[in-house]
């Protein structure tokens, strides 16, 4: 396991908000920070503020299970997630910060004939998109990840698996801090404890935001608030097809290295990896009901632990150290919404639901482009809000896994 990286002496300033900016980004999570970074880096727009009602990267960025992969089914998804994965592959050097990105492989277990057909179809689709994907037999699963139980004598035996070797994990806090530090260095103001309470509208055009620290004018306002997207959108009369749900995760105590990759199982429903520090990090399905509580029901934890113990008998004596939940913003087709809105100069990035972390650099890249040019990036064009009216949905419920 890697040694903890020493923290840099300086990360970012804590400036007072100015009266106006070219671009105001609402939400200093991973996506908001990456967007600010790429606005400055790719488009030379540094007159930017990122407003955060709490502390920087303290929402879903601090609560996710850090799985990174790009093996999605549909072309639109494969393109944007693969763009993101390619950015991950050089992010540490670019941001000059060791984000502990580890391409240890993401293994998705297959337990039924339905799973198997879907898995093989996805492997083939991925290869056609130029994304690495492999089909593994149970013996190959065992060879790649020795602690997986491939016995036929369990309720849902492992009958195969798909593997993306380039997938993996990264250290979530470092990712946020790395983007924040570089954005700050280029002149972006990161403003914490600054909650948006309304929008300053002029006809059908936005020209600023009201906050607990006064009115902040902006030529462009970019929403990036994940689970709270509809709370913001409601303030400005914008309807979003988004529902907010709890998504729980948990960690064990610190253990010796036992798990060398990310393992997912949609059928018995758990995903697990071992963080650099040594704890097992686990997640599963979101709770079904709408919630902003950042906690969920105990039976969801119980189910995922039962699944984990059947797949990995060695885990049966590990202890749950901590459980928590994030608020995930889910669109009807389990794909993000990224682009323009009916309100002029107001942009939206939301709906990443259960899988936003892996998209952090990619989403930031295309969102920055969209904001800078006032028109969608080619990769995000299919993710426009209009798709719910035209019917051109990007249905990733199956291939994304139930959660992703």
């Amino acid at each position: 396991m890697a040694e903890p990286h020493p923290h840099p002496d300086h990360l970012w300033r804590n400036p007072e908000p100015r009266r106006s900016y070219e671009v105001v980004i609402v939400g200093a999570g991973g996506h908001g920070l990456a967007t600010a970074y790429y606005l400055a880096k790719n488009h030379g727009i540094t007159d930017v503020a990122v407003l955060e009602r709490g502390w920087l990267a303290g929402g879903n960025m601090a609560r996710n299970t850090t799985v990174i992969r790009s093996n999605y089914l549909w072309d639109e998804s494969a393109a944007i997630y693969e763009h993101s994965l390619k950015l991950w592959e050089h992010l540490a050097e670019e941001l000059e910060y060791d984000i502990l990105f580890s391409q240890r492989g993401v293994l998705s277990l297959v337990h039924s004939q339905g799973d198997r057909r879907e898995g093989m179809r996805r492997v083939n689709a991925n290869r056609l998109s130029g994304i690495d994907a492999e089909w593994l037999t149970p013996a190959e699963v065992k060879a790649f990840c020795p602690i997986v139980n491939i016995s036929p004598d369990v309720r849902y035996p492992v009958i195969g698996g798909t593997l993306q070797r380039r997938g993996g994990i990264a250290k979530h806090d470092y990712v946020a801090w790395a983007f924040a530090r570089k954005a700050d260095e280029m002149g972006v103001d990161l403003i914490q404890n600054c909650e948006v309470s309304g929008f300053d509208l002029d006809g059908g055009r936005v020209r600023g935001v009201h906050t607990n620290r006064g009115l902040i004018a902006a030529n462009k306002v970019a929403l990036c608030a994940a689970g709270h997207s509809t709370v913001l959108a409601d303030m400005v009369g914008l309807d979003l097809p988004i529902q907010s749900h709890p998504l729980q995760a948990l960690v064990s105590e610190l253990l010796e290295p036992v798990l060398n990759c990310v393992v997912m199982s949609n059928a018995v429903h758990v995903y697990v990896s071992q963080a650099h520090k040594g704890e097992l990090v686990m997640g599963a399905g979101m709770d079904p009901y709408n919630s902003y509580a950042q906690r969920g029901s105990p039976h969801v934890i119980e189910d995922q632990l039962a699944a984990a113990c059947e797949l990995f008998p060695i885990f049966s004596r590990a202890h749950v150290l901590r459980t928590w939940a994030g608020i995930v913003d889910v669109a009807p087709d389990a794909s993000p919404i990224l682009g323009l809105t009916p309100i002029e100069n107001l942009f939206i990035n939301c709906g990443w639901g259960t899988g936003g972390f892996k998209a952090t650099p990619g989403a930031g890249w295309v969102y920055a482009h969209t904001i800078a040019h006032g028109e969608p990036h080619p990769l995000s064009e299919p993710y426009a809000l209009e798709r719910f009216t035209t019917g051109a949905l990007i249905d990733e419920h199956g291939a994304a896994g139930v959660t992703h």
Binding site: H228, T230, V231, D239, L240, P241, I242, Q243, S244, P288, Y289, N290, S291, Y292, A293, S297, H299, P332, F388, T389, T390, G391
Partner: protein
């Protein structure tokens, strides 16, 4: 979370299935409505931070549907 089934009383939420927002009306004169109206009916639902009126079904009990008002921040339920 304990859900108060109107027929069975307080039961664990694992016994229930969630039906999402209540009061979603099928469009009147369905043949005449435009795509935007259909989109609203099919895909757009309230997502309040606070009081939410919603449907639940007691699948592992009496199997009947009912409506609740629940706070999405505290999970406190006030039966509608």
């Amino acid at each position: 979370m304990l859900i108060p089934c109107p027929w069975c009383g307080d039961r664990e939420d694992i016994e229930f299935k969630y039906g999402g927002s209540a009061d979603v009306a099928y469009p009147r004169d369905a043949d005449a409505v435009d795509d935007a109206t259909w989109a609203r009916f099919v895909f757009f639902r309230p997502n309040p931070k606070g009081q939410m009126t919603e449907r639940w079904v007691h699948t592992a009990g009496c199997r009947r549907w009912f409506t609740l008002v629940r706070d999405t921040v505290t999970h406190q339920i006030t039966t509608a």
